[in-house]
Symmetry: C2
Subunit: 232 residues, 2 copies
């Protein structure tokens, strides 16, 4: 039996702009008595990546916050009271255009990385160089969903693994072609990693071990083109 393991990366200190996040992750893992292996997937919440990249903005008052949300949004999808559902420059549709006021000092907000795939790629290269392994990296954020209450972590950046697995042409045990063919594997990985990261537990990274995925995808693979979308 192949057991999938999800290991929290514990002991990471608060990340500051310019920190060497890759080294900090590798050292935290070493301090905990284990090490990365080929095909491991390192999952990191965007908060630490955004902090490292200096994507932090002062918001002295609510008007500044609202202007920032407006600025990060390329399209407002819905608005009700203070809640704004917007499309970001990356194409993500989420609350407040992903401008985030938790896990940051009061009076400040975090923005998403400018190019999360590139952030993932850079982090992956640095970790691979430090550990002589071949790994994948997923950067996550926490999004709400229409129709279903509660939030889940999803992928917002990826490097070294596919975003979607396409089973088109695959047949089930009855010989039927599967009608469910495109699995958003990288979102399932993000959700799985959140089970050990938690929102309040200050664990911003985890390692998924035991998946053997071929290929490499981009986060744009997950963005549904507007013309395919029934819910705008």
């Amino acid at each position: 039996m192949t057991v999938l393991e999800i290991r929290p990366v514990v002991g990471l200190a608060e990340i500051q702009e310019g920190d060497d996040l890759a080294s900090l992750i590798v050292e935290a893992i070493a301090m905990d008595g284990w090490s990365l292996e080929d095909k491991d997937i390192v999952v990191v919440t965007h908060k630490v990546v955004s902090k490292q990249e200096g994507r932090i903005v002062a918001i002295p008052d609510e008007d500044t916050y609202r202007a920032l949300v407006q600025d990060e949004a390329v399209e407002i999808i819905r608005r009700r009271g203070d809640l704004v559902i917007a499309r970001t420059k990356h194409g993500f549709i989420c609350a407040n255009a992903a401008v985030d006021r938790s896990n940051v000092a009061e009076g400040f907000a975090l923005l998403l990385p400018v190019d999360p795939d590139r952030s993932a790629h850079r982090l992956r290269n640095l970790i691979e160089r430090a550990t002589s392994t071949s790994i994948g990296v997923v950067i996550t954020d926490t999004f709400g969903r229409p129709w279903r209450r509660g939030l889940v972590d999803v992928a917002i950046g990826v490097s070294g693994l596919p975003s979607i697995i396409d089973l088109v042409g695959t047949r089930d045990a009855h010989g039927n072609e599967l009608n469910v063919t495109e699995i958003a594997i990288v979102d399932e990985i993000a959700a799985a990693a959140d089970l050990v990261m938690g929102k309040a537990s200050q664990i911003p990274a985890a390692v998924v071990r035991g998946l053997s995925l071929e290929g490499s995808g981009r986060i744009a693979d997950l963005i549904r083109p507007p013309e395919e979308d029934l819910f705008r």
Copy 2:
């Protein structure tokens, strides 16, 4: 370090109406050389539960199929060509009112269990009795999402664990109250389990080990009330 493990339940034969699914799962695990422990969460795709419960319907032609979708739907949310997004009797909003033609003989379709929480509860009781453990059970299905391409597994039935973890009042390291408070933990568990189940690999069950969840929820906790929903 607490490692979360996700173990596939391999070797389950094709499930038939009236099968003792609980015993079959326990036996398959024993044949694979391990056994269930307290606090394990058994995740099962609805397909095997629906088959066991006889929720299988003949669909000799496309008109019968369309009539069945119409019958399972209590509200049509969107329609484009052959694609119908509908709300089921349970409150789930999904494609084709969850009427499923994969993993079933040609000319037939599977419906969701009538009361998936009750199905989960029954399965849990039978497994607990057979193994003298205290476990949780999650029943899953594969849903699409607005805005994001690819499908993910979500929970449609639950017993013995919470559906949502509410972190309201929890503070982050900066002393801010979290604004993200309700995590759909049972959907994250469903997504995580799918990583070892797969769509074509004929593994319809998995065990999540290492989560220590208190409380018990209902799947209805995940249904967003229409008046809160911006996307109908």
